[in-house]
Amino acid sequence: MRIFWALLRRELASFFFSLTGYIIIAAVTLLTGFSFVVLINTLGTDPVPVPVTELFYLSFYFWLILLLITPVITMRLFALEKASGTFETLMSTAVSDFQVVAAKFMAAVIFYLLAWLPLLACLGVIQHFAHQNSTLDAGTVGGMFLGIALVGSVFISLGCFASSLTRSQMTAAVISFVLGVGLFSLAYLAKQIPVTEQWQARALSYFSLFDQMDDFARGVVDTRAVVFYVTITFLFLFLTLRVVESRRWK
């Protein structure tokens, strides 16, 4: 555990050692700001029958942020260590492969959530000017952040996996972007594919990230979606662990 904390601390700190970390935070803040403008515009014209958090999510900015920043956050994790050779020094200490993968993943998730914090500020601004306590409800906000965390974990685990495959950060970013877009478009396909049988429709519905995120933003926590996201995350972390271990049987 001691080793895990040391690793986690270093991984998390390294996001702030480099310019990349600040650029990511700035980019997310900018995009959240844009979506905030869109939101204010919508709120200013018509009365809307849905929760504010859902409106936020409905603008495409959410997916843009998710698809763009997760590869950038994760590309460094393994690829840089492999390229610079520090992977060798890291692995020749008494750390286990599992600790390394877990610490890197955790650090990326924490950083990702930190980058989302400005959203909370935006919501706070709305709350302040709405003069109405019912505008924002802790449940919907919590649901939304839970959704952001869970979907983010999925994309970050994809990124970890991509980064473990290669020594080049660019390649890692491209692989994880492609995997991410792939998963994302499955959600589209889920809507487009004509289904002939009931089970197909059900299977596809698990991949419809939109609907699931919609639920989260509305404050509905659907256990099926939670289990699905957690499973996918663990699947890709497991694959990452296997790739890291693979140097032992190559």
Binding site: R2, S14, T93
Partner: protein, 315 residues
Amino acid sequence: MIAVEHLTRRFAGRTAVDDISFNVARGEIVGLLGPNGAGKSTTMRILSAFLPATSGTVRVAGFDVFHESDEVRRRIGYMPENNPLYPEMRVREYLKFRARLKGLGWRRSRERVSTVMEQCGLTDVGRRIIGQLSKGYKQRVGLADALVHEPELIILDEPTIGLDPQQIRLVRQLIKSLGGKHTVLISTHILPEVEMMCGRVLIMFGGRVLASDTPENLQLRMAGGSQVIAEIAAPAAALQTLWNDHSDVEEFEVTAGDAGFQRCVLTPRTGVDIRSAIFELVRQHGWEMRELTRNRYTLEDIYLQVTKPNTEETE
């Protein structure tokens, strides 16, 4: 401390290490000497449990590096080739992080970091960012990292590469001071380095260990050790008969030098130092002498001879 038996490591289509066996005793400083691509780094990577062996067994402190790699890794300090570090971290912070990774407790790691920083002359640069340090300092940070958890075995892959002479001297002194307390295995392709630091040399070439001995013994083994060169002002014929009759001189060659001096190249019987005898003879005859040297075979000669047959192929 290290027991390597029939170790082989193949990469796709290439055998990097080919059936090598050697032992290293506790407290020894052993140098792995060989040209680039001889399999030194691969051997070290296997020893540090980073790479698995294709076949053969490697034991460090009695533990198998593959099956008990945790135990092995706890006992070694490994500095890979090119000494990779995290350039964005500060020196003290990095060493502390490494100490924690190696399982040292909070207080213990603080103590040890201070100790190794002093040992490696890093006290003044503790707050500097590693990426901005000179190469010599970086190398010392790598060394400090290898030492921080007081490992029984220290494996250093090319520890002095790319340093200036002054820095090389410091690093060598440091490594030399580790002997006795720690077992040290260093790799290098710089010969004087081995002569200076190591109690024993393993010459590797083409994935095999070609020779394993102390630097002195290796020199002795080469052509009986030495030749003696003497420049004496005397009639060539007199010198010829003199050497011919001398029982300790096995072979000799007398050539004319300038200003009436004769250059004699003498090969003595193995293990006999005939220099004082020569001086005595010259004195008795009342001749003049202006040079008397022993021409030692250097490790370089041995190295070149051992690795001669197909050097060109591998480069």
